[in-house]
Protein backbone atom coordinates (compact mmCIF):
# COMPACT_ATOMS: atom_id res chain seq x y z
CA UNK A 1 0.00 0.00 0.00
CA UNK A 2 1.45 3.35 -0.98
CA UNK A 3 1.62 6.29 1.37
CA UNK A 4 -0.92 9.11 1.08
CA UNK A 5 -1.22 12.15 3.33
CA UNK A 6 -4.13 14.56 3.59
CA UNK A 7 -3.35 18.17 4.46
CA UNK A 8 -6.28 19.96 6.12
CA UNK A 9 -5.80 23.71 6.10
CA UNK A 10 -8.33 26.18 7.58
CA UNK A 11 -8.96 29.13 5.24
CA UNK A 12 -8.19 32.58 6.74
CA UNK A 13 -8.48 30.84 10.09
CA UNK A 14 -8.83 33.82 12.47
CA UNK A 15 -11.26 35.61 10.18
CA UNK A 16 -13.31 32.44 9.66
CA UNK A 17 -13.64 31.95 13.43
CA UNK A 18 -14.93 35.52 13.82
CA UNK A 19 -17.41 34.87 11.00
CA UNK A 20 -18.91 31.89 12.81
CA UNK A 21 -20.31 34.37 15.35
CA UNK A 22 -21.67 36.91 12.91
CA UNK A 23 -23.17 35.87 9.59
CA UNK A 24 -23.17 39.51 8.50
CA UNK A 25 -19.37 39.34 8.17
CA UNK A 26 -19.54 36.99 5.20
CA UNK A 27 -18.56 38.68 1.93
CA UNK A 28 -17.33 41.73 3.84
CA UNK A 29 -13.65 42.65 4.17
CA UNK A 30 -12.48 41.56 7.65
CA UNK A 31 -9.05 41.89 9.27
CA UNK A 32 -7.64 40.64 12.56
CA UNK A 33 -5.07 42.84 14.31
CA UNK A 34 -2.18 41.82 16.55
CA UNK A 35 0.61 43.39 18.65
CA UNK A 36 -1.51 45.94 20.51
CA UNK A 37 -3.81 46.30 17.51
CA UNK A 38 -0.91 47.79 15.55
CA UNK A 39 -0.53 45.25 12.71
CA UNK A 40 -2.76 43.17 10.44
CA UNK A 41 -2.12 39.53 11.30
CA UNK A 42 -4.94 37.89 9.32
CA UNK A 43 -7.36 39.00 6.64
CA UNK A 44 -10.21 37.79 4.45
CA UNK A 45 -10.02 37.42 0.66
CA UNK A 46 -12.21 40.54 0.36
CA UNK A 47 -9.67 42.50 2.42
CA UNK A 48 -6.82 41.24 0.19
CA UNK A 49 -8.78 42.32 -2.88
CA UNK A 50 -8.87 45.97 -1.76
CA UNK A 51 -5.09 45.99 -1.27
CA UNK A 52 -4.61 45.11 2.38
CA UNK A 53 -1.76 42.73 3.22
CA UNK A 54 -0.59 40.65 6.14
CA UNK A 55 1.88 42.40 8.43
CA UNK A 56 0.75 45.80 7.19
CA UNK A 57 0.91 48.38 10.02
CA UNK A 58 -2.52 49.74 10.88
CA UNK A 59 -1.44 53.36 10.37
CA UNK A 60 -0.63 52.52 6.74
CA UNK A 61 -3.90 50.65 6.28
CA UNK A 62 -6.16 53.17 8.02
CA UNK A 63 -7.38 54.95 4.87
CA UNK A 64 -8.30 51.71 3.10
CA UNK A 65 -9.98 50.40 6.28
CA UNK A 66 -12.17 53.49 6.56
CA UNK A 67 -12.88 53.82 2.86
CA UNK A 68 -14.10 50.22 2.51
CA UNK A 69 -15.60 49.90 6.00
CA UNK A 70 -13.34 46.99 6.81
CA UNK A 71 -14.36 45.19 10.00
CA UNK A 72 -11.43 45.00 12.48
CA UNK A 73 -10.95 42.54 15.31
CA UNK A 74 -8.26 42.27 17.96
CA UNK A 75 -6.75 38.77 18.10
CA UNK A 76 -8.97 36.62 20.32
CA UNK A 77 -6.39 33.88 20.90
CA UNK A 78 -8.46 31.95 23.46
CA UNK A 79 -11.30 31.66 20.94
CA UNK A 80 -8.98 30.65 18.08
CA UNK A 81 -7.26 28.04 20.24
CA UNK A 82 -10.60 26.47 21.14
CA UNK A 83 -11.62 26.27 17.48
CA UNK A 84 -8.26 24.78 16.54
CA UNK A 85 -8.76 22.08 19.16
CA UNK A 86 -12.30 21.40 17.89
CA UNK A 87 -10.98 20.87 14.35
CA UNK A 88 -8.23 18.56 15.64
CA UNK A 89 -10.73 16.47 17.59
CA UNK A 90 -13.08 16.25 14.60
CA UNK A 91 -10.19 15.10 12.43
CA UNK A 92 -9.43 12.26 14.85
CA UNK A 93 -12.52 10.47 13.52
CA UNK A 94 -10.97 10.49 10.02
CA UNK A 95 -7.56 9.17 11.08
CA UNK A 96 -7.30 5.41 11.55
CA UNK A 97 -5.75 6.14 14.96
CA UNK A 98 -4.59 9.22 16.91
CA UNK A 99 -1.06 8.25 15.87
CA UNK A 100 -2.01 9.03 12.26
CA UNK A 101 -2.74 12.72 12.88
CA UNK A 102 -0.15 15.49 13.08
CA UNK A 103 -0.89 19.04 14.22
CA UNK A 104 1.40 21.25 12.15
CA UNK A 105 0.13 24.65 13.27
CA UNK A 106 -2.94 26.30 14.79
CA UNK A 107 -4.76 25.84 11.46
CA UNK A 108 -3.06 22.95 9.63
CA UNK A 109 -3.09 19.19 10.16
CA UNK A 110 -1.85 16.12 8.33
CA UNK A 111 -3.76 12.85 8.36
CA UNK A 112 -2.28 9.58 7.14
CA UNK A 113 -4.80 8.54 4.46
CA UNK A 114 -2.96 5.42 3.30
CA UNK A 115 -5.94 3.29 4.37
CA UNK A 116 -8.16 4.96 1.75
CA UNK A 117 -8.34 3.52 -1.79
CA UNK A 118 -7.01 5.89 -4.47
CA UNK A 119 -10.42 6.14 -6.15
CA UNK A 120 -11.97 7.15 -2.85
CA UNK A 121 -9.48 9.88 -1.91
CA UNK A 122 -11.40 12.79 -3.39
CA UNK A 123 -14.60 11.65 -1.67
CA UNK A 124 -12.66 11.26 1.61
CA UNK A 125 -11.36 14.83 1.23
CA UNK A 126 -14.83 16.21 0.52
CA UNK A 127 -16.19 14.42 3.58
CA UNK A 128 -13.52 15.98 5.80
CA UNK A 129 -14.25 19.40 4.37
CA UNK A 130 -18.03 19.19 4.78
CA UNK A 131 -17.74 17.76 8.31
CA UNK A 132 -15.49 20.57 9.57
CA UNK A 133 -17.74 23.12 7.87
CA UNK A 134 -20.90 21.78 9.49
CA UNK A 135 -19.62 20.76 12.92
CA UNK A 136 -17.22 23.60 13.63
CA UNK A 137 -18.31 26.17 11.03
CA UNK A 138 -14.92 26.64 9.37
CA UNK A 139 -14.05 26.35 5.66
CA UNK A 140 -11.00 24.22 4.91
CA UNK A 141 -8.83 23.17 2.00
CA UNK A 142 -8.08 19.43 1.87
CA UNK A 143 -5.34 18.11 -0.41
CA UNK A 144 -4.16 14.52 -0.76
CA UNK A 145 -0.73 13.52 -2.03
CA UNK A 146 2.08 11.04 -1.28
CA UNK A 147 4.35 13.57 0.48
CA UNK A 148 3.99 16.56 2.80
CA UNK A 149 5.62 18.86 0.23
CA UNK A 150 3.15 17.82 -2.48
CA UNK A 151 0.15 18.29 -0.17
CA UNK A 152 1.42 21.84 0.42
CA UNK A 153 1.66 22.33 -3.37
CA UNK A 154 -1.93 21.10 -3.59
CA UNK A 155 -2.95 23.58 -0.89
CA UNK A 156 -1.48 26.38 -2.99
CA UNK A 157 -3.42 25.17 -6.05
CA UNK A 158 -6.83 24.97 -4.33
CA UNK A 159 -6.24 28.45 -2.93
CA UNK A 160 -5.52 29.84 -6.40
CA UNK A 161 -8.19 27.92 -8.32
CA UNK A 162 -11.62 28.03 -6.65
CA UNK A 163 -13.05 25.52 -9.13
CA UNK A 164 -11.60 22.71 -7.02
CA UNK A 165 -14.07 23.64 -4.26
CA UNK A 166 -11.33 23.27 -1.67
CA UNK A 167 -10.53 19.61 -2.29
CA UNK A 168 -7.79 18.15 -4.48
CA UNK A 169 -6.50 14.57 -4.63
CA UNK A 170 -3.21 15.06 -6.48
CA UNK A 171 -2.60 11.29 -6.54
CA UNK A 172 -5.68 10.76 -8.65
CA UNK A 173 -4.82 13.41 -11.29
CA UNK A 174 -2.92 12.92 -14.55
CA UNK A 175 0.85 13.60 -14.45
CA UNK A 176 0.69 16.37 -17.11
CA UNK A 177 -1.70 18.34 -14.93
CA UNK A 178 0.71 18.23 -11.99
CA UNK A 179 3.58 19.29 -14.32
CA UNK A 180 1.53 22.28 -15.38
CA UNK A 181 0.74 23.32 -11.81
CA UNK A 182 4.31 22.87 -10.64
CA UNK A 183 5.56 25.14 -13.40
CA UNK A 184 3.19 27.86 -12.19
CA UNK A 185 4.47 27.76 -8.61
CA UNK A 186 7.57 29.81 -7.85
CA UNK A 187 10.32 27.97 -6.03
CA UNK A 188 10.11 30.31 -3.03
CA UNK A 189 6.48 29.24 -2.54
CA UNK A 190 7.52 25.61 -2.11
CA UNK A 191 7.25 24.41 1.50
CA UNK A 192 10.56 24.43 3.44
CA UNK A 193 12.42 26.35 0.72
CA UNK A 194 12.46 29.74 2.41
CA UNK A 195 13.85 33.02 1.11
CA UNK A 196 17.56 32.32 1.38
CA UNK A 197 17.41 28.92 -0.29
CA UNK A 198 15.13 30.39 -3.00
CA UNK A 199 17.75 33.04 -3.79
CA UNK A 200 20.45 30.39 -4.10
CA UNK A 201 18.24 28.27 -6.35
CA UNK A 202 17.34 31.30 -8.49
CA UNK A 203 21.04 32.06 -8.85
CA UNK A 204 21.52 28.52 -10.15
CA UNK A 205 18.73 29.01 -12.70
CA UNK A 206 15.89 27.29 -10.84
CA UNK A 207 12.77 29.42 -10.63
CA UNK A 208 9.77 27.09 -10.52
CA UNK A 209 8.72 24.09 -8.45
CA UNK A 210 8.82 22.01 -11.64
CA UNK A 211 12.44 22.96 -12.38
CA UNK A 212 13.36 22.05 -8.82
CA UNK A 213 11.63 18.68 -9.05
CA UNK A 214 13.37 17.85 -12.35
CA UNK A 215 16.83 19.03 -11.28
CA UNK A 216 19.52 16.36 -11.27
CA UNK A 217 19.71 14.95 -7.76
CA UNK A 218 23.50 14.47 -7.67
CA UNK A 219 23.97 18.09 -8.74
CA UNK A 220 21.56 19.25 -6.00
CA UNK A 221 23.53 17.16 -3.49
CA UNK A 222 26.84 18.68 -4.58
CA UNK A 223 25.65 22.24 -4.82
CA UNK A 224 23.07 22.52 -2.02
CA UNK A 225 22.20 20.88 1.30
CA UNK A 226 20.65 17.55 2.22
CA UNK A 227 17.43 19.42 3.03
CA UNK A 228 17.23 20.71 -0.56
CA UNK A 229 17.70 17.17 -1.86
CA UNK A 230 14.87 16.02 0.39
CA UNK A 231 12.59 18.72 -1.02
CA UNK A 232 13.41 17.50 -4.55
CA UNK A 233 12.57 13.90 -3.63
CA UNK A 234 9.36 14.96 -1.89
CA UNK A 235 8.32 16.87 -5.03
CA UNK A 236 8.86 13.61 -6.95
CA UNK A 237 6.50 11.83 -4.56
CA UNK A 238 9.16 10.08 -2.47
CA UNK A 239 8.28 10.58 1.23
CA UNK A 240 11.28 11.95 3.17
CA UNK A 241 9.55 13.93 5.91
CA UNK A 242 7.50 11.55 8.05
CA UNK A 243 4.33 12.27 9.97
CA UNK A 244 5.09 13.44 13.54
CA UNK A 245 1.94 12.61 15.43
CA UNK A 246 2.84 13.10 19.08
CA UNK A 247 3.21 16.63 20.28
CA UNK A 248 5.85 16.41 22.97
CA UNK A 249 5.42 18.38 26.18
CA UNK A 250 7.08 21.74 25.70
CA UNK A 251 10.65 22.00 26.96
CA UNK A 252 10.40 25.76 27.40
CA UNK A 253 7.40 27.96 28.03
CA UNK A 254 7.58 31.64 27.18
CA UNK A 255 5.26 34.56 27.79
CA UNK A 256 6.36 37.85 26.28
CA UNK A 257 4.41 40.85 25.15
CA UNK A 258 4.82 44.42 23.98
CA UNK A 259 3.31 46.75 26.58
CA UNK A 260 0.13 48.66 25.79
CA UNK A 261 1.99 51.78 26.98
CA UNK A 262 5.76 52.06 27.60
CA UNK A 263 6.90 51.57 31.21
CA UNK A 264 9.60 53.39 33.19
CA UNK A 265 8.92 52.29 36.76
CA UNK A 266 10.12 49.09 38.38
CA UNK A 267 6.78 48.69 40.15
CA UNK A 268 4.82 48.44 36.90
CA UNK A 269 7.43 46.11 35.42
CA UNK A 270 7.03 43.83 38.45
CA UNK A 271 3.29 43.68 37.86
CA UNK A 272 3.70 42.86 34.17
CA UNK A 273 6.32 40.19 34.87
CA UNK A 274 4.13 38.67 37.61
CA UNK A 275 1.23 38.42 35.18
CA UNK A 276 3.41 36.83 32.48
CA UNK A 277 4.73 34.31 34.99
CA UNK A 278 1.17 33.51 36.12
CA UNK A 279 0.12 32.74 32.54
CA UNK A 280 3.24 30.72 31.77
CA UNK A 281 2.81 28.80 35.04
CA UNK A 282 -0.76 27.95 34.14
CA UNK A 283 0.47 26.50 30.84
CA UNK A 284 3.14 24.60 32.75
CA UNK A 285 0.58 23.04 35.08
CA UNK A 286 -1.80 22.20 32.24
CA UNK A 287 0.84 19.92 30.74
CA UNK A 288 1.58 18.47 34.20
CA UNK A 289 5.13 19.84 34.37
CA UNK A 290 7.36 21.71 36.79
CA UNK A 291 10.19 24.15 35.98
CA UNK A 292 13.56 24.59 37.64
CA UNK A 293 14.65 27.88 36.06
CA UNK A 294 13.02 31.23 35.30
CA UNK A 295 14.49 33.82 32.93
CA UNK A 296 13.40 37.40 32.45
CA UNK A 297 14.22 39.83 29.68
CA UNK A 298 13.33 43.43 29.10
CA UNK A 299 14.03 45.91 26.33
CA UNK A 300 13.45 49.48 25.25
CA UNK A 301 11.92 50.21 21.85
CA UNK A 302 14.90 49.83 19.51
CA UNK A 303 13.02 51.56 16.67
CA UNK A 304 12.71 54.71 18.72
CA UNK A 305 16.31 55.84 18.19
CA UNK A 306 15.81 59.21 19.89
CA UNK A 307 15.64 57.46 23.28
CA UNK A 308 18.46 55.79 25.22
CA UNK A 309 18.56 52.07 24.52
CA UNK A 310 18.94 49.20 26.95
CA UNK A 311 18.06 45.52 26.96
CA UNK A 312 19.13 42.71 29.20
CA UNK A 313 18.15 39.33 30.56
CA UNK A 314 18.80 37.27 33.68
CA UNK A 315 17.96 33.82 34.98
CA UNK A 316 17.27 32.43 38.39
CA UNK A 317 17.46 28.82 39.46
CA UNK A 318 14.82 27.53 41.91
CA UNK A 319 15.94 25.34 44.83
CA UNK A 320 13.35 22.73 43.79
CA UNK A 321 11.43 22.45 40.52
CA UNK A 322 8.00 23.99 40.93
CA UNK A 323 4.76 24.89 39.18
CA UNK A 324 3.55 27.00 42.12
CA UNK A 325 3.01 30.53 40.77
CA UNK A 326 4.37 32.43 43.83
CA UNK A 327 7.63 30.40 43.75
CA UNK A 328 8.10 31.25 40.08
CA UNK A 329 7.08 34.90 40.55
CA UNK A 330 9.64 35.32 43.38
CA UNK A 331 12.40 33.96 41.18
CA UNK A 332 11.34 36.12 38.22
CA UNK A 333 11.16 39.34 40.25
CA UNK A 334 14.56 38.55 41.71
CA UNK A 335 15.99 38.28 38.20
CA UNK A 336 14.13 41.42 37.10
CA UNK A 337 15.57 43.52 39.96
CA UNK A 338 19.07 42.48 38.93
CA UNK A 339 18.68 43.78 35.37
CA UNK A 340 16.37 46.77 35.88
CA UNK A 341 18.00 50.15 35.28
CA UNK A 342 16.32 53.46 36.03
CA UNK A 343 16.08 56.08 33.29
CA UNK A 344 14.91 53.94 30.39
CA UNK A 345 11.51 53.59 28.78
CA UNK A 346 10.78 49.89 28.40
CA UNK A 347 8.51 48.68 25.61
CA UNK A 348 8.59 44.93 26.03
CA UNK A 349 9.41 42.25 28.57
CA UNK A 350 8.99 38.54 28.89
CA UNK A 351 9.55 35.46 30.98
CA UNK A 352 10.87 32.09 30.03
CA UNK A 353 10.39 28.91 32.09
CA UNK A 354 13.01 26.25 31.41
CA UNK A 355 14.53 22.99 32.68
CA UNK A 356 11.01 21.62 32.55
CA UNK A 357 10.25 18.08 33.69
CA UNK A 358 7.19 16.09 34.68
CA UNK A 359 5.83 16.84 38.13
CA UNK A 360 5.96 13.25 39.38
CA UNK A 361 9.74 13.01 39.40
CA UNK A 362 10.92 15.81 41.63
CA UNK A 363 14.42 15.23 42.95
CA UNK A 364 14.46 15.96 46.68
CA UNK A 365 17.56 18.01 47.34
CA UNK A 366 20.12 17.37 50.06
CA UNK A 367 19.18 20.41 52.09
CA UNK A 368 15.56 19.54 52.65
CA UNK A 369 14.06 22.26 50.47
CA UNK A 370 11.57 19.71 49.20
CA UNK A 371 8.80 18.93 51.66
CA UNK A 372 6.17 16.58 50.16
CA UNK A 373 3.39 17.99 52.38
CA UNK A 374 4.10 21.57 51.40
CA UNK A 375 4.37 20.48 47.76
CA UNK A 376 0.96 18.75 47.90
CA UNK A 377 -0.62 21.80 49.51
CA UNK A 378 0.79 24.12 46.84
CA UNK A 379 -0.49 21.76 44.17
CA UNK A 380 -4.01 21.88 45.63
CA UNK A 381 -3.98 25.68 45.85
CA UNK A 382 -2.96 26.04 42.20
CA UNK A 383 -5.52 23.44 41.07
CA UNK A 384 -8.24 25.48 42.82
CA UNK A 385 -7.01 28.76 41.28
CA UNK A 386 -6.86 27.20 37.80
CA UNK A 387 -10.35 25.74 38.00
CA UNK A 388 -11.87 29.00 39.26
CA UNK A 389 -10.16 30.95 36.48
CA UNK A 390 -11.31 28.39 33.93
CA UNK A 391 -14.92 28.74 35.07
CA UNK A 392 -15.14 32.49 35.66
CA UNK A 393 -12.53 33.81 33.24
CA UNK A 394 -8.77 34.44 33.38
CA UNK A 395 -7.47 36.42 36.36
CA UNK A 396 -10.67 36.07 38.41
CA UNK A 397 -8.23 35.01 41.13
CA UNK A 398 -4.81 36.58 40.72
CA UNK A 399 -1.72 37.21 42.76
CA UNK A 400 -1.25 40.55 44.48
CA UNK A 401 2.05 41.11 42.73
CA UNK A 402 0.16 41.45 39.44
CA UNK A 403 -1.44 44.68 40.72
CA UNK A 404 -5.09 45.66 40.40
CA UNK A 405 -6.72 45.32 37.00
CA UNK A 406 -7.30 49.10 36.83
CA UNK A 407 -3.55 49.73 37.23
CA UNK A 408 -2.46 47.39 34.45
CA UNK A 409 -1.66 50.00 31.83
CA UNK A 410 0.97 47.63 30.45
CA UNK A 411 -1.75 45.22 29.36
CA UNK A 412 -1.99 44.54 25.67
CA UNK A 413 -4.31 46.82 23.77
CA UNK A 414 -7.24 44.82 22.41
CA UNK A 415 -9.93 47.32 21.68
CA UNK A 416 -11.82 45.28 19.09
CA UNK A 417 -11.96 41.97 20.91
CA UNK A 418 -14.87 39.66 20.14
CA UNK A 419 -16.38 37.67 22.98
CA UNK A 420 -14.91 34.51 24.46
CA UNK A 421 -17.97 32.65 23.17
CA UNK A 422 -16.68 29.17 23.97
CA UNK A 423 -14.53 29.61 27.08
CA UNK A 424 -16.45 32.00 29.41
CA UNK A 425 -20.07 31.52 30.54
CA UNK A 426 -20.54 35.28 30.90
CA UNK A 427 -19.70 35.75 27.24
CA UNK A 428 -21.71 33.06 25.44
CA UNK A 429 -23.78 34.00 22.39
CA UNK A 430 -27.11 35.70 23.07
CA UNK A 431 -29.95 34.47 20.85
CA UNK A 432 -33.21 36.32 20.47
CA UNK A 433 -36.58 34.79 21.34
CA UNK A 434 -38.49 38.02 20.92
Amino acid sequence: MSSVLALVDCRSFYVSVERVWDQMLHHRPVVVLGNNDSTIVALSEEAKAIGLRREMPVFEARDLIEQHQVVCFSSNYALYADFSERVRQSLLSFAASPARLETYSIDEWWIDASHIATDDLARFGREIRSTILQHVGLPTGVTLAPTKTLTKIGGEIVKRYPEHMGVLALVARPAEELDEWLSRIAVHDVWMVGRKRAEQLNAAGIYTARQLRDAELSWIHRRFTVVTARIVLELRGVPCIPLEPVSKPKKNIASAKTFGRPIERLESLCQAISAYVAHAAEKLRSQGSVALAVSVFLTTNRFNTSQPQYSNSASKQLPVASAFTPDLVDAALDALRRIFRLGFTYSKAGVFLSQISTGDRIQPDLFGAYDPDVYARKERIMAAVDSINRLFGPDTIFFGSMGLASERTWKMRQEHLSKHFTTRWQEILEVSAQ
Binding site: D22, Q134, W425, Q426, E427, L429, V431, S432, A433, Q434
Partner: protein, 142 residues
Protein backbone atom coordinates in the same frame (compact mmCIF):
# COMPACT_ATOMS: atom_id res chain seq x y z
CA UNK B 1 10.27 -12.12 50.78
CA UNK B 2 6.74 -11.21 49.75
CA UNK B 3 6.01 -7.51 50.12
CA UNK B 4 2.38 -6.39 50.30
CA UNK B 5 1.39 -4.66 47.11
CA UNK B 6 1.02 -0.93 47.64
CA UNK B 7 -1.25 -0.50 44.66
CA UNK B 8 -4.19 -2.18 46.42
CA UNK B 9 -6.59 0.36 47.88
CA UNK B 10 -6.36 0.20 51.64
CA UNK B 11 -8.96 1.20 54.21
CA UNK B 12 -8.02 2.24 57.73
CA UNK B 13 -6.38 -0.80 59.28
CA UNK B 14 -5.41 -2.11 55.86
CA UNK B 15 -8.36 -4.19 54.66
CA UNK B 16 -9.21 -3.80 50.99
CA UNK B 17 -12.50 -1.97 50.46
CA UNK B 18 -15.32 -4.52 49.96
CA UNK B 19 -16.87 -2.10 47.46
CA UNK B 20 -13.76 -1.92 45.31
CA UNK B 21 -15.01 -4.45 42.77
CA UNK B 22 -18.28 -2.58 42.41
CA UNK B 23 -16.78 0.79 41.57
CA UNK B 24 -18.62 2.71 38.86
CA UNK B 25 -17.84 6.22 37.62
CA UNK B 26 -20.10 8.87 39.18
CA UNK B 27 -22.64 10.52 36.88
CA UNK B 28 -21.62 13.83 35.37
CA UNK B 29 -24.46 15.83 33.76
CA UNK B 30 -22.17 17.04 30.97
CA UNK B 31 -21.90 13.49 29.61
CA UNK B 32 -25.66 13.45 29.09
CA UNK B 33 -26.07 16.98 27.70
CA UNK B 34 -22.93 17.06 25.56
CA UNK B 35 -22.26 13.73 23.89
CA UNK B 36 -20.29 15.47 21.10
CA UNK B 37 -18.21 18.31 22.62
CA UNK B 38 -16.38 19.26 19.41
CA UNK B 39 -19.61 20.33 17.69
CA UNK B 40 -21.40 21.65 20.79
CA UNK B 41 -21.81 25.36 21.52
CA UNK B 42 -23.84 27.32 24.05
CA UNK B 43 -26.10 30.35 23.90
CA UNK B 44 -28.31 32.29 26.30
CA UNK B 45 -31.97 32.79 25.40
CA UNK B 46 -33.24 36.37 25.44
CA UNK B 47 -37.04 36.61 25.42
CA UNK B 48 -40.05 34.38 26.04
CA UNK B 49 -41.30 33.48 22.56
CA UNK B 50 -40.20 29.86 22.95
CA UNK B 51 -41.74 29.20 26.37
CA UNK B 52 -44.14 26.56 25.09
CA UNK B 53 -41.15 24.65 23.75
CA UNK B 54 -39.75 24.64 27.30
CA UNK B 55 -37.20 27.40 26.69
CA UNK B 56 -37.42 30.32 29.09
CA UNK B 57 -35.81 33.73 29.13
CA UNK B 58 -32.27 33.38 30.55
CA UNK B 59 -31.94 29.67 29.84
CA UNK B 60 -28.65 28.29 28.61
CA UNK B 61 -29.17 26.44 25.33
CA UNK B 62 -27.06 23.48 24.25
CA UNK B 63 -26.54 23.55 20.49
CA UNK B 64 -25.16 20.63 18.50
CA UNK B 65 -24.00 21.68 15.03
CA UNK B 66 -23.40 18.09 13.94
CA UNK B 67 -27.15 17.34 13.87
CA UNK B 68 -29.20 17.84 10.72
CA UNK B 69 -32.21 20.09 11.30
CA UNK B 70 -35.51 18.41 10.47
CA UNK B 71 -39.20 19.31 10.65
CA UNK B 72 -39.98 20.43 14.23
CA UNK B 73 -36.34 20.94 15.26
CA UNK B 74 -35.64 23.91 17.51
CA UNK B 75 -32.88 25.77 15.70
CA UNK B 76 -30.58 28.75 16.02
CA UNK B 77 -30.80 30.70 12.78
CA UNK B 78 -29.60 33.92 11.25
CA UNK B 79 -32.16 35.88 9.27
CA UNK B 80 -29.65 37.94 7.30
CA UNK B 81 -30.32 41.01 9.42
CA UNK B 82 -27.63 40.57 12.08
CA UNK B 83 -27.74 38.45 15.21
CA UNK B 84 -29.29 35.05 15.79
CA UNK B 85 -32.76 33.86 16.74
CA UNK B 86 -34.11 30.68 18.30
CA UNK B 87 -37.12 29.30 16.40
CA UNK B 88 -38.93 26.10 15.55
CA UNK B 89 -38.23 24.86 12.00
CA UNK B 90 -41.38 23.78 10.19
CA UNK B 91 -41.71 22.26 6.72
CA UNK B 92 -45.19 23.36 5.64
CA UNK B 93 -47.01 22.71 2.35
CA UNK B 94 -46.26 26.31 1.40
CA UNK B 95 -42.58 26.23 2.28
CA UNK B 96 -40.13 26.44 5.17
CA UNK B 97 -41.24 28.47 8.17
CA UNK B 98 -39.36 29.60 11.27
CA UNK B 99 -42.05 29.69 13.93
CA UNK B 100 -42.21 31.00 17.48
CA UNK B 101 -43.95 28.86 20.09
CA UNK B 102 -46.05 31.79 21.26
CA UNK B 103 -49.18 33.33 19.67
CA UNK B 104 -47.93 36.90 20.17
CA UNK B 105 -44.98 36.36 17.79
CA UNK B 106 -45.48 35.93 14.05
CA UNK B 107 -43.97 33.05 12.07
CA UNK B 108 -41.36 33.87 9.48
CA UNK B 109 -41.65 32.57 5.94
CA UNK B 110 -38.02 32.10 4.92
CA UNK B 111 -38.86 32.67 1.25
CA UNK B 112 -39.27 36.34 2.16
CA UNK B 113 -35.78 36.60 3.64
CA UNK B 114 -32.88 37.81 1.46
CA UNK B 115 -30.50 35.39 3.18
CA UNK B 116 -30.96 33.00 6.05
CA UNK B 117 -29.07 30.11 7.53
CA UNK B 118 -29.47 27.47 10.18
CA UNK B 119 -26.55 27.77 12.59
CA UNK B 120 -27.25 24.72 14.75
CA UNK B 121 -29.85 22.50 16.37
CA UNK B 122 -30.84 23.07 20.01
CA UNK B 123 -30.77 19.84 22.01
CA UNK B 124 -31.31 21.00 25.62
CA UNK B 125 -32.30 24.10 27.55
CA UNK B 126 -30.86 24.50 31.03
CA UNK B 127 -33.30 26.32 33.31
CA UNK B 128 -32.28 27.53 36.75
CA UNK B 129 -35.13 26.52 39.07
CA UNK B 130 -33.39 28.25 41.97
CA UNK B 131 -33.40 31.81 40.61
CA UNK B 132 -29.91 32.52 41.96
CA UNK B 133 -28.31 29.40 40.54
CA UNK B 134 -27.08 30.64 37.18
CA UNK B 135 -26.71 34.27 38.20
CA UNK B 136 -22.96 34.35 38.61
CA UNK B 137 -22.59 33.09 35.06
CA UNK B 138 -24.67 35.94 33.60
CA UNK B 139 -22.90 38.66 31.64
CA UNK B 140 -21.37 41.25 33.95
CA UNK B 141 -23.15 44.60 33.91
CA UNK B 142 -20.83 47.34 32.68
Amino acid sequence: MDLPSLSLPLVGAGFPSPAEEWFEARLVIGDLLVPRPTSTFYARCDGNSMEKAGIRHGDILVIDRSLAATHNSIVIASLGTGGYVVKRLLYTPTGIVLAADHPDYPSIDVAELPAWEIWGVVTYAVTAVDPGALLQLRPQQP
